[in-house]
């Protein structure tokens, strides 16, 4: 058992998968000698060499397109997009090629690949280093999208992602890379199946649903609620496509008050999908409208990380509204 940060756990998991399966290769800007800007691929170059750990030109279209080709020909590429914000030059390769290959070819070809992307704000990164573009990918059939909130889940989901037969967008809450440590069991990791949420706390007063970087703030809000005598059930979605409808709908129907927390842009964010599904499926059980706590409909601001990101107080205010309704 080792207490490890999120970034160390990712590096370790990549290392273990590369050791287990020599089809697994890593590519991206600075992932080789440099070990990645966040050190997610630290030491892999020294250990596995340039044939399996490839520094690429500054071209996301090339990174993802190359990964599609590698995957089609039998490798298991894990591409790193340095910041999720940079994925857009590679967007076409991801949504038009990787996502559709299985369908275009009648399942003759698949693209078993992972695109890792450090995501989210709170690092003073401004417009181009803080975004949460998950909705673009959730809205693209053929892609699986996961967004773990801590080391243990990241390990289990990364194992599933690398071993999956189809392309997986693997988003990482970069703000939490070094702030959360969890006990990682020694030995081989246990894959976490996609579409399975994690219930982080149980209570009857209100349901909090979140994922990724916002989970940390949601758990802070939960701790504060506990202090104030309010019992919340907290769900970490972990996996956005597919997402765990059963768990969310059961809890939403049971409790009747739902607060959905995501730091992504408000309009048409992933929580809109959750809110709509709750309304469609369990409206008759609701005691209040599903309420979203989110980022804003603006480009991510440079100087106002703290105002932009939903924190415990904004979550508590939504809880208050749900209780009062």
């Amino acid at each position: 058992m080792t207490k490890q940060t999120l970034i160390k756990t990712i590096a370790r998991t990549l290392d273990e998968e590369m050791a287990r399966d020599d089809r697994v290769v890593v590519l991206g800007q600075d992932v080789g000698k440099r070990g990645g800007v966040f050190l997610a691929t630290e030491n892999l170059f020294d250990k596995y060499g340039p044939d399996r750990v490839m520094d690429t030109p500054l071209s996301e279209a090339a990174i993802i397109g190359t990964a599609v080709g590698m995957a089609t020909y039998g490798l298991r590429p894990v591409a790193e997009i340095q910041f999720a914000d940079y994925v857009f030059p590679g967007f076409d390769q991801l949504v038009s090629q990787a996502a559709k290959l299985r369908y275009r070819s009648g399942a003759a070809f698949t693209a078993p690949m992972v695109v890792r992307m450090p995501s989210g704000g709170g690092v003073g990164g401004g417009h181009h280093h803080s975004q949460n573009p998950e909705t673009h990918f959730v809205h693209t059939p053929g892609l699986k999208v996961v967004y773990p909130s801590g080391p243990l889940d990241a390990r289990g989901l990364l194992l599933s992602a690398i071993r999956d037969e189809d392309p997986v967008v693997f988003m990482e809450p970069k703000r939490l890379y070094r702030s959360i440590r969890e006990d990682i069991p020694d030995g081989e990791g246990e894959p976490i199946p996609f579409g399975k949420a994690s219930i982080r706390a149980r209570g009857d007063d209100v349901l909090l649903v979140s994922y990724g970087a916002s989970m940390d703030e949601t758990m802070k809000a939960h701790a504060e609620l506990v202090d104030q005598g309010i019992n919340a059930t907290v769900i970490d979605l972990r996996s956005l496509m597919p997402w765990d409808e059963e768990t969310v709908l059961n809890e939403a129907a049971r409790i009747g008050r739902v607060v959905l927390v995501s730091e992504a842009v408000h309009t048409a964010g992933f929580m809109a999908e959750i809110a709509a599904t709750i309304a469609e499926q369990v409206l008759d059980s609701l005691l209040a409208p599903p309420l979203r706590v989110s980022g804003f409909d603006t480009p991510y601001p440079y100087a106002q990380d703290r105002q932009y990101l939903p924190g415990p107080n904004r979550i508590l205010r939504a809880v208050q509204r749900a209780l009062d309704y």
């Binding site: 490890q4 940060t5 970034i7 160390k8 440099r34 070990g35 800007v37 966040f38 050190l39 630290e42 709170g122 690092v123 003073g124 990164g125 280093h129 970069k174 703000r175 070094r178 702030s179 703030e217 802070k220 504060e224 609620l225 104030q228 005598g229 309010i230 009747g256 409206l283 008759d284 059980s285 609701l286 005691l287 209040a288 106002q304 990380d305 703290r306 105002q307 932009y308 990101l309 939903p310 924190g311 415990p312 107080n313 904004r314 508590l316 205010r317 809880v319 208050q320 209780l323 009062d324 309704y325």
Partner: protein, 448 residues
């Protein structure tokens, strides 16, 4: 974090109040206990003071708005810094945060990181969750809360429950914000007698005749006028009003009053006729208790009251007020005279307290001071009856020996709720009161 300033429940049965005046504008500084807003509730006006020192961030109701009890009236930012919420992070040096986080990093070479954690979102005083307040339930005739398109406001789960139970959600009183029906309300409605639907007639719509718009003025129905209007409508729609008129020969009372007042020392309170009338009415109510009742529509019960608090209708510059003299049975004639003056004076100067207009069991309206032969008073609901007292005039009267004599004559008009009081009973009550007024010495027999 701003504190919510809510409309308190100022007295039993108060469910709403009108915002008359904000003493502190938005953005203005307010000290603890400084008057913040003037609110008029059901004929009294109260000043509400700020519970804390700080800045009034926002008025959630404007002057003229009606606010429900427990609704938020204003947001007050505690403390000296008005700008605290506007820029919570401005004073926090991000560099210090980053250094702290960087120091925490023992796993990697921090110098390789382009970006550093800049701090937690929305730091500051933690929001305190207010437990859902127990909403006051209105006893009868709740105002139906409807949303857009006239649909009843209800949480979805309450609609579902109402459907399952066969409860008409239109008839359920909502205890939530804006009268929204909640699950508990549906459950509670099953245990209550279903109120009669009794379709309310459409109000009369006024249209200005062509060409007369220039010659008309429009004044919003506000404040006192609105409360009077509401009370009158309630009385008109929810009582079965009947009138009994009779006259009293109060020549003896006029003489007695003159004699008693002659003995009042300089500066003492001189007796009007009202204390005598109140004592006579008190004796009548003891004998005919049906007139000292209220009808509880929610439970279909008649409430008999073994206490006697008389409302006195007082015309003021702002409109009609009905302050109450409590415990008429425990006050002497002189004390009643003083209490009458006190209530009338405070009604005219606008210094009545909420308790001064509540708890009445019977009302008396003295129309005589203005003039007229007799009138048909409006019952001051939820009371059962009101007595109109008119001017005492010397008129010729045929005496028992068929002679004509100038006598001091007084018309009395008793307006009563025929559901609670029969016509014959009203007549007997009035005759009994008249008997006491015609022979005021008999009031001695009623003294306790």
């Amino acid at each position: 974090m701003a504190t919510e300033f809510r409309l308190p429940k100022l007295a039993e049965s108060v469910v709403e109040g009108e915002i008359i005046k904000w003493f502190v504008p938005e953005g203005g500084r307010v000290e603890k206990d400084q008057p913040l807003v003037e609110v008029m509730t059901d004929k009294v006006t109260v000043e509400l003071s700020s519970p804390l020192s700080g800045t009034v961030v926002k008025h959630l109701h404007q002057e003229g708005d009606i606010a429900q009890v427990d609704e938020v009236l204003a947001l007050i930012e505690q403390g000296a810094g008005a700008a605290a919420e506007a820029a919570p992070a401005a004073s926090e040096p991000a560099a210090a945060e980053a250094a702290e986080t960087g120091g925490d990093d023992t796993d990697g070479d921090d110098s390789t990181n382009l970006f550093r954690v800049t701090g937690d979102p929305d730091e500051g005083e933690v929001v305190q969750i207010r437990r859902p307040a127990q909403q006051p339930r209105m006893a009868a005739a709740p105002a139906r809360a409807t949303g857009p398109f006239g649909r009843v406001l209800a949480v979805p789960a309450a609609r579902k429950l109402a459907r399952d139970l066969g409860v008409d959600i239109e008839q359920v009183h909502g205890s939530g914000p804006s009268g929204r029906v909640r699950v508990d309300d549906v459950t509670a409605s099953r245990t209550q007698a279903a109120p009669s639907a009794g379709g309310m007639p459409q109000p009369v719509m006024y249209r200005t005749p062509d060409g007369f718009a220039e010659l008309e003025r429009r004044v919003p129905l506000r404040g006192m006028r609105r409360f009077i209007s509401q009370q009158m409508i309630a009385s008109h729609l929810h009582t079965v009003r009947a009138l009994h008129v009779d006259e009293a020969d109060v020549t003896g009372l006029v003489a007695l009053r003159k004699k008693l007042n002659a003995a009042v020392p300089e500066g003492g309170t001189r007796l009007s006729y009202l204390p005598f009338i109140m004592k006579a009415v008190l004796a009548g109510l003891r004998k005919f208790p049906d007139l000292n009742t209220s009808f509880d529509e929610a439970t279909s019960e008649i409430v008999f009251k073994d206490y006697w608090n008389f409302g006195l209708a007082v015309a003021t510059d702002n409109g009609l007020l009905v302050p109450v003299i409590h415990g008429v049975d425990r006050l002497s004639l002189a004390e009643l005279a003083e209490a009458t003056l006190d209530r009338a004076e405070r009604a005219r100067t606008g210094s009545l307290k909420p308790g001064d207009v509540r708890g009445g069991t019977f009302s008396i309206t003295n129309i005589g001071s203005v003039g007229g032969l007799f009138s048909f008073p409006i019952i001051n609901v939820p009371e059962a009856a009101i007595l109109g007292v008119h001017s005492i005039r010397r008129r010729p009267k045929v005496m028992p020996d068929d002679s004509l004599a100038p006598r001091d004559m007084l018309y009395l008009s008793l307006s009563f709720d025929h559901r609670l009081v029969d016509g014959a009973e009203a007549a007997r009550f009035t005759s009994f009161v008249i008997g006491l007024l015609e022979e005021p010495e008999r009031l001695m027999l009623e003294m306790r």
